[in-house]
């Protein structure tokens, strides 16, 4: 499984757009890029997944350049409740037969008032 590297922590302020970049230089052809969010005392929660270019949902956007060696999670107009640890994961989604998540260290995002 491809290893990921992301900043240990980031600080932001309410209302700002936050971009968290993840490096995955050894990503394989079949690998997808997935981001999870974890609040204290809770299990991780799926945010977004992509393979290439740009993916957007109601929560975030995911930007993936053509070489797919990195990806950027973009959170628009963050609020205090977005303070959490954000994990970037890379792995092969084999359609249900064996998708094992490998979590890196994650990025602690702190949103300040």
């Amino acid at each position: 499984l491809a290893k990921t590297t992301q900043p240990i922590s980031m600080d932001s302020y309410e209302g700002q757009e936050v971009n968290i970049t993840c490096s995955h230089n050894n990503i394989a052809t079949n690998d997808y890029i997935t981001w999870y969010q974890q609040f204290p005392s809770q299990g991780p929660r799926f945010i977004i997944q992509g393979y290439k270019t740009k993916v957007t949902n109601e929560v975030a956007s995911l930007f993936i350049p053509a070489d797919r060696k990195s990806s950027t999670l973009s959170l628009p107009r963050v609020s205090l409740s977005d303070t959490a640890v954000y994990y970037c994961l890379v792995g092969f989604n084999s359609g249900g037969s064996n998708y094992k998540l490998t979590f890196g260290k994650g990025t602690l995002l702190t949103v300040n008032p």
């Binding site: 299990g43 799926f46 994990y87 989604n93 249900g96 998708y99 998540l101 979590f103």
Partner: protein, 114 residues
């Protein structure tokens, strides 16, 4: 989405004892996963549990220490055996979503071993 509950939510145990953690899902799922999250650390996969077959353990985890049961498609248990303070962690179960693009996690069981 899937709603997952775990019991107990937390426990404090004595060294040398065992604790069984239950994971209940509100829908039938093929695969269930058990993770460990040590204090201040990321999540580490312990094993994958399929209904009707033996659990598959990741490197560093063995069945004697973490026996798993998967009696049906909505339930699984993880036992932490012969506990030591190093087993103090949060233990989480998860299941795959219908399209397998995401996993849903339970709230976790916070275990403290004295």
């Amino acid at each position: 989405s899937a709603v997952i509950s775990q019991k107990p939510s937390r426990d404090i145990c004595q060294r040398g004892t065992s604790l069984t953690i239950q994971c209940q899902v509100d829908s039938q799922v093929t695969m269930m996963f058990w993770y460990r999250q040590q204090p201040g650390q990321s999540l580490t996969l312990i094993a994958t549990a399929n209904q009707g077959s033996e659990a598959t353990y990741e490197s560093g985890f063995v069945i004697d220490k973490f026996p798993i049961s998967r009696p049906n498609l909505t339930f699984s248990t993880l036992t932490v055996s012969n506990m030591s303070p190093e087993d103090s962690s949060i233990y989480l179960c998860s299941v795959e979503g219908l399209d397998s693009s995401e996993q849903f996690f339970g709230p976790g069981t916070r275990l403290t071993v004295l």
